[in-house]
Symmetry: C5
Subunit: 372 residues, 5 copies
């Protein structure tokens, strides 16, 4: 019976803007989390993290030109916070709207004095579906602002590298930091695909061993997941490409070499994904052919047994008839009207004829290859 419960996944339903809302309207979702704000300041030598209660005077706090800053914001439920962005930092209100409407595709846009980017952080949910969170980036010369919906994320490794000062991360500016975070997110897609690849293997094992209808449900669920993931990876690749081609001086050539690497990863992901989709389709074909074959097998059993015994039963029926002689004088009825019945060895002859018919049919079916 499979586990059809796995097929149906709960979905995150985004709150669509009320039609007619002013474009650039900053939407505060009442169910979203209150922001936790961490301010990382770092350069080659120093590293410091401060938790902020709010963003007031953030320009002053990030004014030191010899230091890079990362303002790590988790939770979007603060209209006041976005006022700082629009009024103090002069961020375009369409950007702020995109940050608060958390259903956007990955993209990269250049604005006067800053870049804006969106990534999507994915997780395999408990019910086998995909959790899908938006991560937004505002990158200026020496400050990177990131926005997440939830407190948990998969970016701790980058925070650790930043703290430990490993690699280029402290000295290569906000562009490289943004890259490092995006790359982390893309890397997590590999784990997801790798998990699904195992699921696909498991489905195939089942297909060979004992195919039941759960094969269909699970393959369909996998295909749906792949369709969802593809909707993220394609624009992710386009985003990387846009970053590669940007002439913004906020992205150094050094960083672009790394972006090229992330771009290659996206292509590799698409490659794996498309192959998995093709193989999943192939499995469905296989499953359908297995069903058809089973049908044939069932029908063969029915046909063989019916074809052999129905005629025999007919013969038995013949000799079970009660035809009789009626004495024309007395009107008395006596057996005797079916000569075969009273022949010596009539019974044995009949059994022999029946056996003969059965054998002929078995040979016929054998030669048709129905016993294979």
């Amino acid at each position: 019976m499979g586990k059809p419960t796995r097929f149906k996944q709960k979905k995150k339903h985004y709150v669509l803007p009320e039609p007619g809302t002013t474009p650039g309207f900053v939407y505060i979702d009442a169910n979203s989390l209150t922001p936790k704000i961490s301010l990382y300041s770092f350069n080659t030598d120093d590293f410091k993290v401060v938790e902020l209660a709010n963003l007031k005077n953030i320009s002053e706090k990030t004014a030191d030109k010899s230091t890079f800053y990362w303002v790590d914001i988790r939770g979007l439920n603060s209209a006041e916070m976005f006022t700082v962005f629009s009024d103090e930092l002069k961020i375009h209100k369409l950007v702020l709207e995109d940050i608060t409407r958390t259903y956007h595709r990955p993209k990269f846009e250049e604005y006067e004095g800053y870049n804006f980017a969106i990534s999507r952080m994915l997780n395999i949910a408990e019910d086998g579906g995909l959790d899908n969170e938006q991560v937004s980036f505002i990158q200026t010369k020496n400050v990177l602002y990131t926005f997440q919906e939830n407190y948990e994320d998969c970016l701790d490794a980058v925070r650790k590298r930043l703290k430990d000062g490993k690699g280029n991360i402290r000295i290569s500016g906000t562009g490289y930091l943004m890259y490092a975070l995006m790359d982390m997110i893309v890397d997590s897609y590999f784990s997801i695909l790798s998990k699904w690849s195992e699921d696909l293997d498991a489905i195939e094992d089942k297909l060979l061993a004992r195919p039941d209808r759960s094969v269909m449900y699970e393959t369909q669920m996998l295909k749906r997941n792949l369709i969802s993931l593809r909707r993220v990876i394609w624009p992710e690749r386009d985003k990387m490409n846009d970053i590669l081609r940007t002439e913004s001086d906020l992205i150094t050539d050094q960083t672009k070499m790394f972006i090229k690497d992330a771009y290659d990863h996206c292509i590799q992901l698409m490659d794996m994904l498309e192959s998995m989709k093709e193989i999943a389709s192939t499995n469905i074909d296989m499953y359908l052919s297995i069903i058809s074959n089973r049908m044939n097998e069932i029908m063969k059993v029915l046909t063989i047994i019916s074809s052999i015994f129905i005629p025999l039963t007919f013969i038995a029926g013949i000799y079970g008839m009660n035809f009789a002689k009626q004495d024309p004088v007395t009107g008395k009825i006596m057996p005797g009207n079916m000569p075969e019945l009273y022949q010596e060895h009539g019974y044995e002859y009949t059994l022999f004829v029946m056996a003969l018919i059965a054998v002929v049919q078995i040979i016929f079916f054998w030669r048709k290859g129905w016993f294979k």
Copy 2:
């Protein structure tokens, strides 16, 4: 039995131009509505609406260079009105023909001194299909003319914003106003897709719980609706792109940033739509596999019962035969020619053999996994 009535939708049949009509012929549909004309004049400080009986001297009424005007025309049944456009405003007659032939795809075209654009306003009809209305735009430096087929529309929110003076709408010129109206229409597509997404969920629930043939009808109707919508969204996206790339000075760079946002929305719509189409196809595959599985189940029941009882009935038939001895002398016929019948416990032995045959077959089918 599903609700096949939902599958068949009434369609709007457009009146095609008589082949050979002069190109640029302004077609007045006798069934269309008489125009209601509202003239909005607005700038940063002022806002005024006047209802006009006709368009006479419209150039004079919209002559103030410090004010923007919106001529909101609903209903197209007035040849005289179009004469004003062709004679007084020098609008190209192909443009006027496109406005009156209300089956055009979304597009954007530049002309000497004005821009021309078409959007399509959609609504889910009572029968589950799509209502489809053409909205045309003629945009000059400080006047925007819009043309609709019906009196009702989904643009009241923009009218309210205009009146309330919220956002950029009063100060950003006719380009921004045109954008605001178009964006409104695109936003309404999201509601439509969102509604259909719920339908798709409902179909899936049914597919898991009690799939019947209505699954097929409803999925097909959904697919047809998606095909219709795609025919609108693709050219809509191209239109937005054409506006983005136009060098017309009637569209400011400021407005283009908003157009870029609407362009992104179109892509997102296409994305959602294509995913829904793929999932709908996936559901059809699933439904067909469910039908095949059911068939297998039905055939299994038939085969198991027939295969067990047909041979048993044959055996019963055998011992129901009337083979008899005939006294060669008296010619008298007496039972006695089928030795098994008169054996002690013959009946019990026979019953036992029958039970044995049944048990063997049940084990055979069990091992084939037919009882699962």
Copy 3:
């Protein structure tokens, strides 16, 4: 049984050039019609039509620079006529070959001093297929030559407009006249699609009401027709695009605006056509699922009836057996070996057991949902 006769359409088999024919060889099909030639001369004020017997001295007849000429040639069976074109008018022989080989795709080509174009004039034939005729155009500064295979065509409306002097047609030169003719032909495609759209509706009605195999035949025929039409519309669109991008001064910018309109029509046609193709495929899926469902229904009836009655018949068979006692002394055979048979109410008990079995099975099938 549908109308399979509609599925098979007679086809026009073109005479392919004998392989190895000299390129540029002007082929005169013996079965083609003798040319009827009309010479239209027109300018803003004048309009005149003359029937010509042949094309001799055509250069002189069309020498007046203040007048435009249309040489309307219907029927291609005249080698002499093509000699005039090659010798007197210096038309490239590949052009003449293309005119006489009437199986070419729509195209537009520029030559030294003239343009060459091909359109395809379509008609729904009696048997439901497509009649397909080639119309060729040679356009010089002030003369337009058109070539058709048959005498009848769908261009009379243009001739009338020319005569009546309505619209631009008399004053806009040969480019506009060529456009008007081509546009006429494209317009006629709309009527064809509109007819097929009604056929598609009719097929759907049948699909819902009483689907039989004619659904399949008719859908296939429709798909084939759509495939044929697509082969015409795609290159037609490319042709329009080529005209739009030409730098030939024989096509004025004024005319190009009209060509753009015809280009839009082609795109709209392709749009409609692709949607219809998708819907036709969708109908085939639907029909196949209906067949499968029917199969299920048939099998359910068989299975229910067989499963109920076959076991009952077996029981009846049991008690129809003739097991008997044989007196060990006299060898006399007497009934009495099947105790149930002689029990009081044995018959009634048996009938009751049979009814019980039937009821249990009916409940079983009921719960499986087979009676729905």
Copy 4:
């Protein structure tokens, strides 16, 4: 049963280069034919053919600048011949390798002082498959070398035109001659498609009249042939396009006009081919639906007959049972326990009930539409 033998075609298995062979290695296939070499010299006035034993001093023999030469080589089995090309004529060894490895796609390449091109000459083989021969061209200013695998070809018409001096062929140089040969080969594709189009018609006739499984085999074979042909036509079109865009002065503008014509032919071929492929797929769908319909018909017959007679047989079985009374005193067994049996007209009543059941069922099936 169709003619499955037609489905399986013998294939030409090319000898792949031993991996690791030096690039540019001239491979001499031991099974290939010894070359027959003809040297055509021609100009406006003269025409001469000489058979050559080998290519020694070919530069001298083709030195006259006022004459064009065609060196027509059929058979590739001569290492010595290729030495002349590499040493005396300085042809790049990769070119020579391509000539001897006869499995290359059509292509056109420019080299210092000469052009190199490949065409593929096709023939419908005896078994219904495609014979596939490589024709290679080396074109210098006034010499054209052609290489074929076999002695027979489809180019005699060109040789004749050359001899007769018809058309441009003697005066337009080696580029035009190469075009003429290539065009000939492309023309022969039309005959092939035309033959297959007739096959497709024949399949369709069969599909309507008496579809059996040969429909499937023949359609599949046709599809495979179309796939093979597509592999030739696509690169052929690209080749033509490459020639059109070449800046080599070995191809005159005059010749390019003819090449454009051949390019159009390739597009037309692709068009026809894709349509035929779509129609073939359509036929397979149709065939599968016919099989399903037949299945339904078969099952209907079975179900109607079984459903009617199985219950009737059960009733007959009931009254064939031997329930009896046993005298409690004598233990004597007498008939008499099944009251219906001894009722007057019991037999007739039973027959009537049976008839009633049959009639009710027939009405039931009739109303389900199973007799149609």
Copy 5:
């Protein structure tokens, strides 16, 4: 039953980077092999091979500008070795990461002073799947470094050509050597496709002779293999194209001519591969139609036999009924209530009627064409 074991192939599971790993981290797989390093030095006259224990001072060892060097590294398990590359040779750490993460797609990248490329070496594994090894290239002016995972490879033929000094290989520099190795790898794909083409032929033979479900398994396995191979060939082609378009002076124009040849090979491979995929799909269609046809055949046998014998058995059942007369006086029961039974020749008439029914049905089925 086929050989389902062939369907399931073991897969190489790559170790994905731990998410959050520093980009450019050189990963040393503990299971990889310790490097074997061979240093080839060669020019027109000399050729020398030295086995090196490690890469220390490799710059000095390869310092002679008049000599080319090939550093052939097999086995990647040496962190120290990669330190030489990063510190002494200043290779970008992303390049080194790509070399150690052996799951990259073929690519070509230019860096300051060197080029980097990846090829994938394929082998048909024992279980019918594809073994897949990464070969990386770092090419400087006069040194080529290659990196492989395993000791065995398919490149010995190139080593031999290098030693023997055949062809261009000693004099054309590192670019040509890199080409020669890459070309070798591409050539090996031809052998793989050629092997699979034979498998496809074998499957087809089986399809015609005795199709069983192994056809399905084997075709699916083949399709999966083709999908895997396509994932290698497409980027391989792109790589070749990137090399063709590079402006790096490390790749000479002379070498590019050979690269063009390899590029053509890639296209040819893709061509063959896509055709094989199409044919494989075609075979699945065919197999499914064969299953359906078989089903029809099975059902026909069942239907013919059941339809003939079930009614006959019913008739026999009728005359096996025990209707009797009961003497109203004595209550004695005597046969006699079924007049047909006592008619003279009643039995023979009945047999005749049965035969008649059978014959009528056989004629009916015959005319339906069920015996064909």
